[in-house]
Symmetry: C2
Subunit: 258 residues, 2 copies
């Protein structure tokens, strides 16, 4: 099973100004497609921090996905830092340049901005790490980048959710699906027990490595509790069978039949 890390970059996230919903979105998609997402990490938009974090987690996972820091401003330094960490140069992309130009031209023509000149801030977004595959941005100016570095996959995505999500779904997910050999499914069932310290003993009795079983306590005012079963396998059917088996065994244990 391939593993991954989501690295979200930006002062606004680590300082608690913005709640990072990107990582949650990406992690849930990766999991559904059979990737073991091992880490979600948020750090500052500082070159040394990005390099340090990237190298630390590239050592530990197969797939690294960054969000944030692709835009035009001074603190948008993700591609610069990623390239530096991998000893790569940033290379001018004619494709990206044309996309950016079109993007601002179209805003200019509809009167939404005052100038369509390709200023330095706009040009900056046309530079991608060498040998990167461009990831198309259907809703914004900045392209993303996909790098295959000695078998480790690195995807750099924008931080604005309305740009990140379509780029992830349309550009990244098809590649992930090719890489992944399986799927992961979670199902939650309700059991007539409200005490995690009792339920925990039954789970201990029947748990095995096939299915991850997690109690979801909602408090003692309720008479029951949800239990989430998560299984990975080659296909949906295989996962559902494993979950069904574990669910029945837990029910038997609670009813005193194990």
């Amino acid at each position: 099973m391939l593993s991954s890390c989501v690295l979200s970059i930006g002062k606004e996230i680590i300082s608690g100004i913005i709640n990072d919903t990107n990582s949650f979105y990406i992690a849930s998609r990766l999991s559904a497609f059979g990737i073991y997402n091992r880490y979600i990490v948020s750090l500052d938009d500082i070159k040394d921090e990005i390099e340090d974090g990237m190298l630390h987690y590239l050592d530990r996972v197969d797939i690294l996905i960054t969000t944030g820091g692709l835009g035009p401003t001074f603190d948008d330094i993700t591609l610069f830092s990623v390239a530096s960490a991998l000893n790569k140069k940033l290379i001018f992309s004619k494709n990206a340049y044309n996309h950016i130009k079109q993007f601002y031209d179209s805003l200019y023509k509809t009167g939404k901005i005052k100038s369509n000149e390709m200023n330095d801030k706009r040009k900056k977004m046309a530079y991608l790490p060498e040998n990167a595959i461009e990831l198309y941005n259907s809703t914004g100016a900045a392209f993303g980048a996909y790098i295959n570095e000695k078998g480790k996959r690195i995807f750099c995505l924008p931080g604005i959710p309305k740009e990140m999500k379509p780029m992830f779904d349309n550009e990244v997910l098809p590649i992930i699906k090719q890489l992944s050999t399986g799927v992961t499914i979670s199902k939650t069932y309700e059991f007539s027990i409200n005490d995690e310290t009792l339920l925990g003993q039954f789970i201990d009795k029947i748990k095995n490595s096939d299915v991850y079983i997690k109690s979801l306590p909602t408090g003692f005012d309720s008479k029951s509790m949800g239990v989430r079963f998560t299984a990975s396998g080659n296909n949906e059917f295989e996962c559902l069978k494993k979950i069904e088996l574990a669910k029945n065994r837990l029910a038997d244990a609670i009813n005193g039949n194990v």
Copy 2:
């Protein structure tokens, strides 16, 4: 300025089943009280992962706050892992034991649970790392722990938000306030400019290390854009003065007066 890391522990977070709102809450509080929160990290409830993450970030920050994994079930292993990372034992706490006993006694007396026996799962929560200060849990069974390890501060909090928040506010924040020497304030103002590539040039002109200036683009259908100014200082007034100055300088730059 002291720095911190929030470490949220749990499979449900890294796999995108639950959106981690705890880290956001803690990060925003730490920032308001003048701590530079450098990292938010989520990882699996596996002993080696917790140890590895803890030691990596303890090297980099002054304050480490963990959430999650204090409860009764098999995957609640935070205190065990934290103690192991610091070469400490887990020690039985009579205080914690009495609190847990009272907690279940009271549920038993009101008919909410079937047994008040102190089973192994309940007893487990009475063990804290040696030399830890107990953090009182006003809404749940499991105490938190505060460890001062050679000047590095480690706080272990529950993962359930309704337990974590009062413990953070009532038990952790008073200690943080003692440690911190300042405050940090952010204010956002609207400017009549909708293009980050133009605004970015003005920000470059006037920015200095006193105030962090961040444009908040909302798209080109709007004629204006928010700009967030963040300043740290010894007190609120000092921060507000720095922000006021930067705001006026940016307005002057946009109006062609710089």
